[in-house]
């Protein structure tokens, strides 16, 4: 008689899996908005999770862990841009697979969402690398200007200038679409 035993999953491994599942999409999108490229965003997301999960003691408090992971993700993306010396961002690669979406979305809603995504990506490409970074960190991540300055290693006045330029350019782009 043979009996199939359930796989033994350690508590730590279970915690890891849950942590990845809860944060993967958020971190991917966060990094993608900074680097503007799907392939790089995937690689950097993996890197950020590996860095975070190698310090498992930090994962005990889920709220703190999520915040901590966001910080690692942002720093990983900024380091990548510095290493690569990126002045501009690459095109988003169109994948062969069809767009997946929740079943309850109507074709009109799907179309609208797709249009909005493309429009956003186009708008962000109009910004310089530093404007984009400052804009994402301030207006999307909600970091204070001082913290953005610290992470970009520049003065608060410079960061304010990047943020203001980005907001003006982005708004002009957005309003141009609506005309």
């Amino acid at each position: 008689m043979s009996e199939t035993l359930p796989p033994v999953v350690s508590e730590a491994a279970e915690r890891r899996s849950r942590f990845i599942a809860e944060n993967l999409r958020r971190i991917f999108v966060q990094i993608y908005r900074i680097v503007g490229n799907v392939d790089d965003a995937q690689d950097l997301t993996q890197e950020a999770f590996i860095k975070a999960l190698q310090r498992e003691d930090q994962l005990k408090d889920p709220d703190k862990a999520a915040h901590w992971l966001s910080r690692i993700a942002t720093n990983t993306a900024i380091d990548f841009l510095r290493r690569a010396g990126r002045a501009e961002f690459l095109e988003v690669e169109a994948l062969a697979e069809p767009l997946t979406a929740p079943a309850e979305e109507s074709p009109e809603e799907l179309l609208l969402r797709a249009e909005r995504r493309l429009f956003l990506e186009e708008g962000l490409r109009r910004l310089t690398a530093r404007e984009r970074l400052a804009f994402v960190l301030r207006d999307l991540e909600g970091l204070p200007a001082g913290e953005v300055a610290r992470r970009l290693n520049c003065s608060k006045a410079t960061v304010r200038s990047h943020i203001a330029n980005a907001r003006i350019k982005f708004r002009q782009w957005l309003e141009g679409r609506n005309r």
Binding site: V38, Q54, V92, A94, D139, R160, S161, I163, A164, R171
Partner: protein
């Protein structure tokens, strides 16, 4: 009426102006409908940005990408466990203990060294009475004075506990006994 610059309005909309500049823009907005609409426009754009940015990239198969990333993360963690030394986890605590012991050692050695008697070069601060081969000498920082004994006669010299010095000798020709008692007050 002069209006604030577009940069100032864009920063004001996100609450990024320093307080004095914020106060000036707010004062202006109280009386300027055009600038109020500008600020509102920046806020609408920021709201749109936040909503749109939460979306995944266009034409992107999230399920497939997520499965790939999960597998690669697992692989990366396993590779990391293979290469990392097993005792590395304990090292931060060990370093703390070593640092604490080193600090204690520094304090103990420093205290002992400060309290240790150090040999010092003799420094003459008060007059000193001493016996020399020539007689009895009073030595001071500024100079010395010697009371010479006769070379021919045998001289008996007695020091005293109070720091005085006595020399006694007999003149062979006259038989006269001389006692030199030298002390410092």
């Amino acid at each position: 009426m002069s209006h604030p610059q577009a940069n100032a309005l864009a920063l004001f909309a996100g609450g990024d102006l320093p307080w004095w500049a914020r106060w000036r823009v707010r004062w202006h907005l109280g009386a300027c409908e055009t600038c109020r609409r500008e600020v509102e426009g920046y806020r609408r754009a920021a709201h749109w940005f936040r909503r749109a940015a939460a979306e995944l990239p266009a034409n992107f198969d999230w399920e497939r990408a997520a499965a790939e990333m999960r597998a690669n993360i697992q692989l990366g963690l396993e590779a990391g466990e293979c290469v990392s030394a097993p005792e590395r986890a304990a090292s931060p605590i060990r370093w703390r203990v070593v640092a604490a012991l080193a600090s204690i050692a520094v304090v103990v050695v420093g205290g002992w060294w400060l309290h240790m008697p150090h040999p010092r070069a003799p420094r003459l601060e008060a007059p000193l009475v001493e016996s020399t081969s020539d007689g009895i000498q009073i030595r001071e920082p500024e100079g010395s004075l010697a009371l010479l004994n006769p070379r021919a006669a045998p001289v008996m010299v007695y020091p005293s506990a109070e720091g005085a010095m006595t020399a006694r000798f007999v003149d062979e020709e006259t038989g006269l006994v001389t006692v030199n008692h030298v002390y410092v007050e």
